[in-house]
């Protein structure tokens, strides 16, 4: 299937990926996209492989997406969730990891509330580890599916395009992985959010930081809204939610300032009227549901690539 050799045992963040590796993953995803359009969506590629979905933090969308991706490749997928799991009984991540390892899976997909949890697992396990979101740190498959969505729209040469990421940047693993990925793809990234929700050192990121939403959206080719966790207000980072909705929500007038044909992305789940106006989420410019479809294809591509690498090894 491939020309370039895939070097990575794990996918912990997009940081480790080269431009050609990203391109190859997205190309592979495009082929799976075709399969997903067929009436029978299942291929026997990963028959007999087992994939553990270890989600130590509540998740419906990402977990389902990985589950569907694995099943369409005919892999056996096993879920380990929060409720009823040994995590709630006080088992340490190390012991959970070793227990999972003993079940000899080919790939473990992990979602965890601690930044670095995927690294922690990858250091200790022989099987491939896929980071499905670790704390505020990284969510590489989300960034890849965002790239896939926009590449479908913009074509493979995306250099020169501009993307705005707006909202709670400080606590967002989606923002961190996206900023790194788009920099590799040559897309200019803008960042906008309340100053209390910007991470320290953001000035040194490969992105331009804006204080004003009208200026931030001006002429951009895509806008990515980020979910506002309601607990940020309780933590004293925001005055109140009404103020947030008035000052930081992306509405029609913002979209009108963007470039012609600009689109809107959101990793979901959406707080309608909070970070993104309901009308925008449902508009023709919204690519939010495309992102979901892309998510399955990108995750199929990743699981396939890792399984093939392990076979060669």
């Amino acid at each position: 299937m491939s020309e370039a050799h895939w070097r990575h045992k794990d996918l912990l963040d997009v940081e480790a990926l080269s431009f050609s590796e990203i391109t190859r993953l997205l190309d592979t995803a495009a082929r799976f996209m075709e399969i997903n359009a067929r009436p029978v969506k299942k291929v026997p590629t990963l028959r007999g492989r087992s994939i553990v979905l270890f989600f130590a933090e509540p998740s419906t969308r990402t977990k389902t997406s990985f589950d569907v991706a694995g099943k369409r490749l005919s892999a056996d997928t096993f879920s380990l969730g929060v409720s009823g799991s040994s995590i709630t009984k006080g088992e340490s991540l190390k012991d959970t990891a070793l227990t999972l390892q003993a079940m000899a899976p080919d790939i473990i997909v992990i979602r965890h509330s601690s930044s670095g949890a995927a690294h922690f697992l990858a250091e200790r396990l022989d099987c491939s580890v896929v980071n499905a979101g670790d704390g505020r740190h990284a969510h590489p498959t989300q960034a890849l599916l965002d790239a896939f969505t926009l590449r479908e729209l913009w074509g493979p040469d995306m250099a020169g395009k501009t993307l705005l990421i707006a909202g709670d940047i400080a606590h967002s693993r989606v923002a961190r992985s996206n900023v790194l990925l788009w920099a590799k793809l040559g897309v200019s990234v803008r960042i906008f959010g309340p100053r209390t929700l910007l991470p320290p050192g953001v000035a040194a990121w490969p992105a331009e930081v804006y204080d004003n939403l009208d200026e931030a959206v001006s002429g951009v080719d895509a806008i990515m809204g980020l979910r506002l966790q309601l607990e940020r207000q309780q933590a004293g980072l925001l005055p109140d939610l009404a103020e947030y909705a008035r000052r930081f929500c992306i509405g029609r007038r913002h979209l009108n300032r963007a470039a012609a044909g600009a689109v809107v992305l959101h990793p979901g789940p959406i707080n309608r009227g909070m970070e993104i106006a309901s009308e925008i989420a449902d508009s023709a410019q919204s690519r939010i549901l495309d992102q979901v479809a892309a998510g399955v294809a990108v995750r199929m591509a990743l699981l396939f690539t890792l399984a093939m690498r392990n076979e060669v090894q």
Partner: protein, 431 residues
């Protein structure tokens, strides 16, 4: 070595003593726990029946003082206990160790102090000597003053809320005043509770990039400023624990210029490592205050060089392996330091940043003066507390070389230069 039959005497030959005016070589004789003679080598020989210990090329340092350690007993003996902690201290070159009160129960009552001193005397009758630090407030809760009169009488050498903050400036002020009544110094762990809440490393470019909640340097500096102002207002001394950042140093420097009675300590790890050490979420490098940015490290090294920093301490903070083998945000803060402190700080001497005499002052004379404990100036009658140090001996930090029960150190596996070869306290050989 000659055959010896006198065991109450120690004779060291041809040692260098950098703390003296001329470094030597000297011959040193200790009898009955005291220095009996110390003179240029050749001026006198070993008395009959006393073995001569060759010390050519080696340093003889007065036993060092660690004014800040956590020995974990009572309550957390699985991390460390007084026996293992003092053993590690002996091998690290320390003859006096200040044990912080965040044990379980907290050392806020005489019974706990007495228990700790009993353990030390039972397990290490010849030392290292334990100096319990009493809790400044009951249960370290920061609300009511602890019974500092009772605790002083029981043997507490200083008072601190270490590991916890004192949010109420009123309580802290009264603590300084009341401790002074018993001739005791207050050691403040400078940390703003609100700025530091739920943080796991230094706030900066690294924390922003790797997505870990960071503690800003002002969380420390704010309390340093508070303490400096209180100290000046009350005309009472205060000692600032584990200083880690530039802003604190500027405030301390300002205070000293005004003659405020402020003294400060820092630890080897703040001088050797910065927050990039946490890029891979290494819990061994999670300490509190956190490892700071490179500019803070540079500022600390300059403060050591310029004499703004008064003393070194280890902030030896053992934790069991299973406690540290978790994601970064779940790991407790702290690293062990009793056995790595000397080689690490001697590195500053090697780099030419610190004169050997100043190095000894920061580990011996200065802490002894701040906390009013006996010193060894190698004058006749001084306590025979000293150790032989080979600055060129290299060793690797491993389970085999470390005597502490715990092994949580960012220097695990590192090769360090400089080693304690032998250690005497009151003339008794303890290493």
């Amino acid at each position: 070595m000659q055959s010896a039959d006198r065991h109450d005497a120690v004779f060291l030959e041809q040692v260098l003593i950098p703390s003296l005016h001329a470094p030597g070589p000297y011959n040193v004789l200790a009898c009955e726990g005291k220095i009996a003679a110390c003179a240029p080598a050749g001026e006198f020989e070993a008395p009959a029946g006393v073995a001569s210990i060759p010390g050519k090329g080696l340093r003889l340092f007065p036993s060092f003082v660690d004014a800040h350690a956590h020995l974990r007993e009572p309550g957390f003996e699985y991390k460390e206990d007084i026996e293992s902690g003092l053993r590690a201290a002996a091998y690290g070159g320390f003859g006096a160790v200040f044990a912080m009160p965040n044990t379980s129960p907290v050392n806020d009552q005489a019974a706990v102090t007495a228990f700790m001193l009993d353990r030390a005397r039972l397990r290490h009758p010849f030392g290292p000597r334990l100096y319990p630090v009493g809790a400044l407030t009951v249960g370290l809760e920061g609300r009511e003053l602890a019974r500092m009169g009772e605790l002083s009488e029981a043997g507490c050498a200083a008072f601190s809320n270490d590991g916890r903050w004192v949010t109420s400036t009123e309580i802290f002020r009264r603590g300084m005043e009341y401790a002074a009544q018993w001739g005791r110094l207050v050691i403040d762990h400078c940390e703003d509770e609100f700025l530091a809440k739920d943080t796991h490393m230094n706030e900066g470019a690294v924390s922003g990039r790797i997505g870990v909640a960071g503690q800003p340097t002002v969380a420390e500096a704010l309390h340093v400023a508070r303490d400096v102002l209180l100290s000046e207002y009350l005309d009472l001394p205060v000692h600032l624990a584990h200083i880690s950042c530039r802003q604190s140093l500027e405030l301390i420097s300002f205070a000293k210029e005004r003659g405020v009675k402020v003294t400060a300590e820092t630890c080897p790890h703040y001088l050797c490592l910065d927050d990039t050490r946490l890029e891979n979420y290494d819990t061994a490098a999670k300490v509190n205050p956190p490892l700071r940015g490179a500019r803070d490290v540079q500022a600390l090294r300059r403060a050591v060089q310029d004499g703004i920093m008064d003393i070194f301490v280890t902030d030896h903070a053992p934790h069991a392996a299973h406690e540290k083998e978790v994601p970064l945000d779940q790991a407790p803060s702290g690293c062990i330091g009793l056995e790595t402190a000397l080689p690490l700080t001697y590195g500053l001497v090697r780099e030419g940043l610190l004169a050997e005499k100043a190095f000894i002052r920061m580990w011996h004379d200065a802490p002894a003066a701040i906390f009013s404990i006996p010193v060894n100036n190698f004058a006749v009658g001084d306590p025979a507390d000293f150790f032989l140090f080979d600055p060129d001996s290299e060793w690797e930090v491993t389970r085999e070389t470390i005597h502490s029960k715990s092994l949580n150190t960012p220097f695990l596996g590192a090769r360090l230069k400089g080693r304690v070869l032998a250690h005497w306290l009151g003339g008794h050989r303890i290493v």
